[in-house]
Amino acid sequence: MLKILKYSFYDLVRSRWSLIYFAFYITLGFVLLFLNNDISKSVITLMNIIIVLTPLIATLLGIMYYYNSREFIELLLAHPMKRSAIFIGQYLGLSISLSISLILGLGIPFLIYGVLISTVIFDFLTLILVGTFLNFIFVALAYNIALSNENKIKGFGYAILLWLFLAVIYDGLLLTLLVVFDDYPLEKTALMGSVLNPIDLSRILILLKLDISALMGYTGAIFKNFFGNSMGMLMAFAILLVWVVLPVGRIVQIAKRKDF
């Protein structure tokens, strides 16, 4: 598995996409810091971008990488290798290279602007950690979709729908639900609803870190109560981890039965 991981990683690190992705983050980091001239404000702006963009890029590159390497997978499968090793190796290679683009792309400008000696260092680290989790989650989801769909167009379609659903539609549905059942105590529902969507969960994690939850009223207080302590924080990361583990488990399962 490590060999496959190594080669996919090298292959990806030199590909145009990783470079563009890295260049995008580094430019974004510098531009935001230059315009805001304030690290904590930049972290908030960044959050909004990371939470929507990281899943989108991870999903698209995941789907593209799988379909592009289909014949290569066939070649590898004809060698004495375990099936799961090939897929998990590729999955990790892609997730890690995307995460490195993110970590270096944002890390470099923020380091230069002195994030280490600022008060928001932990907020920034949470942001990077959450972004990394989102990479691992959405590459895994994309691999699930790609493995279940031979047809590339369908695969791309489902992947974009999945992203659209989790990033946009889900919030809309939740909000509609909250508005319709306005008269009932919905704090728990809101909490549950947000926790089940990795994008929402990531957003809340960062917002609470940034201490602007006061803007969210009573529900915000409930959230603060839940996530504010280390137990809630731990649970939130545990849920993100479950979002990684379940799809990866399914990758292994599908890979065992699939024909190439």
Partner: protein
Amino acid sequence: MIKIENIHKKFGKVEVLKGVDLHIGTPGIHAILGPNGSGKTTLIKSILGLVIPDKGSIKINGNNISHQWKYRKNIDYLPQIAQFPNNLKVSELLNLIKDLRNQNTRDQDLIKLFELTPFLNKKLGHLSGGTRQKVNIVLAFMCDSPLMILDEPTTGLDPLSTIHLKELLKTATKNGKTILITSHIMSFVEENADEIVFLMDGKIYFKGSTATLKKNTGMNNLEAAIAELLKENHA
């Protein structure tokens, strides 16, 4: 060496293999022939474990291969479409496969034979179809395994490389290897194959030497004999 018993495979509603029994015990070149869509590639891929049959068993040297992977140490495979990661260089791909297989290889001789030295530091994405096929052949022949499976090995090769390929096949048979080949180029098969397995509609219709096939059909060359076989079965 290879014992296939009653394998069935369906892709969706299409039944590709309908109970194939095949025993390949002797070394030499065994050509698997058949019209398009007759199940040649599916059969080959079942032996490699790339396709998992719905029913039946495949044994190699007496061991059932279902969900195994170590037995592939003894198989070299040349896939039909030579597609590799575009960002890897030829030398890196060779190293990757050598690294994966952990076996002695003779890639240097093959690289010289197919004149691939100038391409070693080029990215695979920048190679022409024929050059890719040469890389494919080097990968398939470098490990010296006792069983070789070649799916349309002549695709895209220039005449000189085809001659080299034939020479490689000759030495391989001399060394006592078992080789399975699919090909649509009948002259290539006639010249090289020791045995012919004719597959149609997911079943084996004929298994035997070229001479027997010609005798049975009353034709004096393989192409005509195969055409006759097709006609007989359609009638």
